[in-house]
Symmetry: C2
Subunit: 222 residues, 2 copies
DNA sequence: CGGGCCCACCGTACTTAGTACGGCCACGCT
DNA sequence: AGCGTGGCCGTACTAAGTACGGTGGGCCCG
């Protein structure tokens, strides 16, 4: 005679919209966005597929939701910090977050209804730039430039076949077989003399570009 | 009594791998990557679904194939041009191509086996930078920066809900209802004072950032 | 000229996924 | 006790990827 539990079905936590979205992120992180199905999500949450529809209208709403959840993980620039360091912090944080959730990058392209965290994020960033003395037009330029760089870098990082500075050579070697130095001489030079060298980490390129961009923006404050 | 055609089934062109891939691009361009299914593609080509499998192993191979096809549309930098103008031309062309095929951006993240056009493209670009006097390491920096910017810009463009400078206000107006000036003051300022002004075109931001980047790179040639 | 072979194409069917529709059952309120 | 309600689910339909095994018309060989 088990102690009577208040709820009949097991004693798992009750479903909520937040739990649904967090579960979806967990699945996408672990196995890619392709593994996120209503059925796999239901299983993760220990319910049956149709139960999810009491918290989201359809799968698209889940996708919109997890994109906003990802945005909420990015550091907001603080209102009173120095703009350059705040922008650097924001960019670095955004890259780290998108590295943790690489599937989110591709989703940005298809989802066009930003959630509240996304809007808050944009608002804070624009605010920091405006307070730094950038005109409205210049803020638009700067923001487009910064975000393009961050997103594009994250996109390139995500499409790399390896994951850290560890197994670069292992993955690249078989690939090198595919193209002879005659066909792609510069690619081979770049690979053999630089990228395949121990210690090379594509992620380190991020700082260079970010510095270039911030320097250039500094010069365009009135 | 119809003129006897040589082939029994209708007189449509015979299937080829190239025709399959071109058809796939056509569908993705017209209706988005979501509308590209083996069945829709078969219908487009006037065959039955299973016929496609004589030319591609599976759908993934089609996705890899069309990404490479997209790359092949991007202008290669010419070997003997001035590096700055060649890089500008390449970037501009890439943006135009990715605007024509926005679905390709999201695909870049998931596909990690570059095709021949992709490799040729990278090789030519690296070659131009090396010939301009950039060191191997600096070329890696420059290329990462340039490509990040181009991809990221294309990604942002693709996620805009409108398509040209025409219906910006129409789309943005209802969106403005969702956030009050109290919640997102800077966003509202940016929208009302800049982006919603007639004549604003996000695409114009591209030149600014590209110029900034090319200027910065110029300064880093030994 | 006839028979066989091959290759391009296809029919059928199985699996997985999204989701419409209508229950059903425990709880709490009266 | 009856009843409503809210949270969960069973069933089933549709769409999509693709395994597997044809099949039939053109062409080559004899």
């Amino acid at each position: 005679m088990a102690k009577p539990v208040s709820k009949s079905r097991g004693d798992r936590a009750p479903l909520t919209r937040a739990r649904v979205l967090r579960g979806a992120v967990a699945i996408a992180d672990a196995s890619g966005i392709g593994a996120l199905t209503m059925r796999s999500l239901a299983q993760e949450l220990d319910v049956k597929p149709m139960s999810l529809y009491h918290y989201v209208a359809n799968k698209d709403e889940i996708l919109d939701g997890i994109v906003d959840l990802v945005f909420s993980e990015i550091d907001l620039p603080s209102a009173d910090g120095e703009w350059r360091s705040e922008m650097r912090r924001r960019a670095t944080s955004a890259r780290r977050v998108l590295r943790r959730h690489p599937w989110a990058i591709g989703l940005l392209e298809s989802r066009s209804t930003p959630g509240p965290a996304t809007l808050r994020h944009h608002d804070a960033t624009i605010g920091t730039l405006r307070r730094a003395g950038f005109s409205v037009a210049m803020t638009a330029h700067a923001y487009a430039l910064l975000d393009s760089y961050v997103y594009g870098f994250a996109l390139q990082e995500a499409s790399l076949p390896f994951d850290g500075p560890d197994t670069v050579a292992d993955v690249a070697e078989p690939m090198m077989q595919r193209f002879s130095p005659d066909e792609y001489p510069h690619l081979v030079e770049m690979a053999s003399e630089h990228i395949l060298k121990p210690g090379y980490d594509f992620g380190d390129e991020f700082e260079f570009g970010l510095g270039v961009i911030l320097d250039a923006l500094t010069r365009s404050i009135p």
